[in-house]
Point group: C2
Chain length 237, copies 2
């Protein structure tokens, strides 16, 4: 804090890791870059602060709304991490504040007000390098996916993948796809309905083909899960 030297001024970008479960796979929202650098490459959606006075959290909500057409207050949006390596953008010094967003399976791939070519891409394609991303977005995505996986254990995050009304099987589906492992339907049902304030029965039931109708639930008030839903692999052991 010695005064009297020029404080470096940098550009602040907000980048989004938007995840959903779609076609039985964990998918991430990506845009195709139209300009250099990395023109034509896939990248995480994002952008710079809209003004000198825009709050960073607000900017993330704004970007999310632009890309998905959804109001941010209904969706899960949390700060992930800040990436501040000096050369992450070849043009100029840019620091990226990354956010993790979880959305339900949306009706159409993207209805962005910004008219960018956003689309869903399976996370596995990116993590196995069949598709590669611009900047350090591969690393950011990888951090975001790991955060989401671990959040399923201790928080009610899984409900953010689901529509307003969902069944226990829908919820189990989210866990299985995000974690990449199968879970016992009977024990999962008991665990998840036993967690305080996690699920609230709506009274409704599904009217599906081929099976007993399932009770419908909406998300409860709990943010943290007591007790947690632990994965066998990855958690430990």
């Amino acid at each position: 804090m010695s005064s009297d030297w020029e404080i470096p001024a940098v550009a602040v970008a907000v980048d989004l890791v938007v995840l959903t479960v779609r076609s039985a796979r964990l998918q991430v929202l990506l845009v195709e870059r139209g300009i250099e650098p990395y023109a034509g490459k896939l990248a995480l959606p994002g952008g710079f602060l809209a003004s000198e006075r825009e709050d960073v959290d607000t900017a993330a909500g704004r970007e999310l709304a632009e890309e998905t057409g959804l109001r941010p207050e209904n969706l899960h949006l949390e700060q992930l991490r800040t990436y501040g390596a000096p050369n992450r953008d070849p043009r100029r010094r840019v620091i990226a504040v990354a956010y993790l967003a979880i959305v339900p399976d949306l009706p159409e791939p993207t209805a962005g007000g910004d008219a960018r070519s956003a689309r869903w891409v399976p996370v596995s394609q990116v993590l196995t390098r069949r598709a590669t991303l611009a900047f350090d977005h591969q690393r950011i995505l990888s951090d975001g996916v790991e955060r989401a996986r671990s959040r399923l254990e201790y928080s009610a995050l899984a409900t953010a993948f689901c529509p307003p009304q969902f069944t226990v099987a829908d919820l189990r589906n989210v866990y299985e796809i995000v974690w990449g492992e199968t879970l016992d339907p009977r024990n999962f049902h008991r665990k998840v309905t036993g967690v305080a304030d996690f699920l609230v029965p709506t009274g409704g039931h599904t009217t599906k083909h081929g099976g007993r109708p399932a009770a419908l639930y909406r998300r409860g008030t709990a943010d943290v899960l007591h007790p947690p839903i632990l994965r066998s692999t990855g958690g430990w052991r």
Copy 2:
């Protein structure tokens, strides 16, 4: 990413939550501000990027070294969160990237190369508002303490509070003080020595008054604890 408008440039500050266990209390390193705004107030140590090309993580390590006189590579240092509200600094737009550092009980309060009046203050005094901090540093400290508490459960973070050689009782002391609860010495001993690659016996023993000598350990290679050391309160239930 529409081009052709002026991208806002902001100043990037790095703020540190440096925690230690000292005199049987969790304490935080604070500086007394010499200049406005908040002159005379206590604040987290920190500063702006040293140059246009300095990495943010590097800046955090540099600040820590300046404040504690210790090499950052031996200490625990992790990014906490970024605080980007537009009015957090009344002078100009500043975004703070906060870091959490854990250090052992240092020989002298501070041996900063920057000759600032850094000193240790019990965390409880700040959280109970007997001492208040400048800017939004109260909130940042609170986030940092909660991060540290939860990291004790799942990571080997507790060893960062200890000197290179320590006993199981030293380690238990860290858990008890940071969590603010008492733990059964017998069960704690068994748990902690049972975790794979957490503790490595050095072969040495303490030669203390009034009790059986304790075996000395150094930290092992494990970063995550299998299984975790869970707190009773706060974890759940």
